[in-house]
């Protein structure tokens, strides 16, 4: 589906970092093992410490403390980027996020801002086991006054990262482990492959994909991040094997939630499926569902369906992991089930 000329996502992110470092001298990067030649566990920071030795700090293994250090730097006018090696370890910093980073601006009566970016890879499908495979961004969605961004391989990854650095709010920039190695496929002439694509002009855009050029379709699927290519695969399968057309909304801004593209699409399709890699309960899909059923009640002809990981651990053995995580097949099934009950 992708031309071989596309750069890989890890390279797009890496170039984004290099650009933002060249443009702004108040940007710093901190994290474990980020120095060259190693360049970070997933190689996103490659070359950065060689180019900007004073602004890249490799750190002790102290995630809790690092969230605090980044907060302190940003309170004093710098723009730190904190790399957390695995997204699973944000749990170690949540006190700083809940009780500090997200609160300082409002509780100090707008006397300060806390512009910082936390970059971290989430997601499974690499057999890393229960503590290195989770999609924990769901835990962040309940925290007011932060921004959660999770771009996909179809987004302008470097640009979004630069936007996050320019943002005056604390931004969690969620990456995906499998995405790193895949091509960063951008829309060309309004298309990615066979699908027409519209992109919002927002800071963290949403992409809407359509196989019918935004005319009629059976359902809208809203998703983000590493699930985007899986959902696009499912959509292709639905077209080819079932002659069912779906629109796909790939959000990149998960919080604060801005769902205009979803409402617009649901107005056309009348049905919605949410898809996320994290576990089902209390996740992305729950909040979207609550908002869409409220705002677009009269457009919805069927209840919103959620596709997500089963509520449990992510096992290490691949067959077990596969059974646990949502697949293209699960998305196909959800859309088909929606059709089946369509009145």
């Amino acid at each position: 589906m992708s031309a071989p000329s596309h750069k890989r996502c890890v390279q797009a992110l890496n170039e984004g970092l290099h650009e933002v470092f060249a443009e702004r001298d108040d940007v710093y990067l901190l994290g474990e093992d980020v120095l060259d030649p190693y360049g970070g566990a997933f190689k996103v920071t490659q070359g950065l410490s060689d180019a900007f030795p004073d602004r890249v700090l490799t750190t002790p293994i102290s995630e809790g403390g690092l969230f605090g250090v980044a907060a302190g730097m940003s309170l004093r006018g710098l723009r730190p980027i904190l790399e957390i090696m695995f997204g699973d370890f944000i749990a170690l910093g949540l006190d700083q996020v809940v009780n500090g980073i997200s609160k300082f601006r409002e509780m100090y009566d707008d006397q300060v801002t806390v512009p910082l970016v936390v970059r971290t890879p989430m997601g499974g499908r690499r057999g890393y086991g229960p503590t290195h495979s989770q999609s924990l961004e769901k835990l962040l969605l309940g925290i007011p006054n932060i921004c959660v961004v999770a771009a996909s391989e179809c987004h302008d990854l470097g640009g979004l990262l630069a936007n996050a650095v320019d943002d005056d709010r604390p931004v969690f920039f969620i990456e995906n482990k499998l995405m790193y190695g895949r091509p960063n496929r951008r829309p060309e002439e309004g298309h990615i492959g066979e699908l027409a694509v519209r992109e919002t002009g927002t800071r963290y855009p949403a992409l809407t994909f359509s196989g019918t050029d935004f005319t009629e379709a059976s359902a809208t699927i809203v998703t983000y991040g590493g699930m985007v290519p899986i959902v696009l695969d499912a959509v292709t399968e639905l077209i080819l094997e079932r002659e069912l057309f779906c629109e796909v909304v790939a959000l990149s801004q998960l919080l604060p939630m801005e769902l205009e593209p979803v409402f617009e699409s649901v107005a056309r399709t009348g049905a919605l499926v949410t898809v996320e890699e994290g576990t089902l309960t209390g996740g992305f899909g729950a909040e979207i569902t609550a908002r869409v059923q409220e705002e677009a009640w009269s457009d919805l002809r069927r209840p919103v369906q959620r596709v997500a990981a089963r509520d449990g651990i992510i096992p290490s053995a691949r067959p077990l992991e596969d059974a646990m995580l949502p697949s293209a097949g699960d998305v196909v099934e959800a859309v088909v089930a929606l059709e089946a009950v369509r009145s």
């Binding site: 102290s62 403390g65 605090g68 980044a70 907060a71 302190g72 004093r76 710098l78 009780n99 100090y108």
Partner: protein, 300 residues
């Protein structure tokens, strides 16, 4: 408070004002004029006053904890902002949003979650170092807060990266109701030096001694750019918060013999001392009156 000719007089004036401010807060609580919570600094005044005198409010940074009023007053001298904040007035330091534990004004910050402020102060020092301002970042923690692991993460980073942080441990021998023997093992000073941080330790309520050692510590930080761990053994005379105190009254009485106000006051002539005290009482009365009249914080 300015215009006092000698250092002992200045220090005494600051300490006396903090004492009376805190006593006034407890009174206002008792009268039901305040809600929420508060942790007063009564008995520990020599620490804030002795240290902060070496800091420059325009350049240096202080991050304080739940027991922050003494640090705040010593650093900002903003009694009206603090009192009206605690009273929930629109004129408060943070417009009534923060309350007693969550203050911010200029280079002063505080937060109420124990330990969490320590890495933030460390990050502040890192920023100031990178910006080349020469600022010292001071963070105040209690003996109980040494239970929080993030404190050691911070010591390690500050030491490793040679950051200008002044870690001040105010060991008042209690964490809320818990005596130090039940919350802390080993040695406080050794906890600093284990991370390669320079340590000084004082067991005194004499502001002159605190002032001298703190001066030396701050000078050393400015000179070397490296962190310092200042351990001050002290005592609070007031309850932990408002009325919760299970300590042996005899123990408190015994400690009151070393009241820092007494020690510092005895160094002044009676007239000077009285002048200072009267000025403080008057300022406090005016502050209370002004805060009382200030408009309550209102939802937008």
């Amino acid at each position: 408070m300015t215009g006092l000719s000698t250092l002992p007089a200045t220090l005494y004036a600051r300490m006396y004002f903090i004492r009376r401010f805190e006593e006034t807060l407890l009174d206002l609580f008792a009268q039901g004029k305040l809600v929420g919570t508060t942790h007063t600094y009564i008995g520990q005044e020599a620490n804030a006053v002795g240290i902060v005198d070496h800091l420059e409010p325009e350049r240096d940074v202080v991050f304080s904890n739940h027991r922050c009023h003494g640090h705040y007053l010593a650093f900002t001298d903003d009694a009206f902002g603090l009192l009206s904040e605690v009273m929930g007035k629109a004129t408060g330091t943070c417009g009534g949003k923060g309350g007693s534990q969550h203050l911010c004004r200029g280079n002063f910050y505080s937060n109420g979650v124990l330990g969490s402020i320590v890495p933030v102060a460390t990050g502040i020092a890192l920023a100031e170092k990178k910006k080349g301002t020469g600022a010292v970042s001071t963070v105040f923690l209690g003996d109980g807060t040494l239970g929080e692991g993030v404190t050691y993460e911070s010591l390690n980073m500050a030491s490793l990266w040679q950051l200008p942080v002044l870690f001040v441990v105010e060991n008042n021998h209690y964490a809320q109701s818990t005596p130090i023997e039940l919350e802390l093992a080993g040695s406080i000073a050794a906890r600093g030096s284990a991370f390669g941080v320079e340590v000084a330790e004082l067991d005194t309520t004499d502001v002159a001694e605190v002032h001298e050692t703190a001066g030396w510590a701050v000078a050393r930080i400015r000179e070397t750019g490296e962190p310092f761990f200042l351990v001050l053994h002290t005592y609070r005379f007031s309850p932990h918060s408002k009325g919760d105190d299970n300590r042996d009254p005899g123990e408190i009485e015994k400690r009151r013999e070393r009241d820092p106000l007494q020690i510092a006051g005895d160094r002044l002539g009676p007239a000077e001392r009285e002048g200072i005290e009267q000025a403080a009482e008057q300022r406090l009365a005016e502050t209370v009156a002004a805060a009382d009249e200030a408009p309550a914080a209102e939802a937008a």
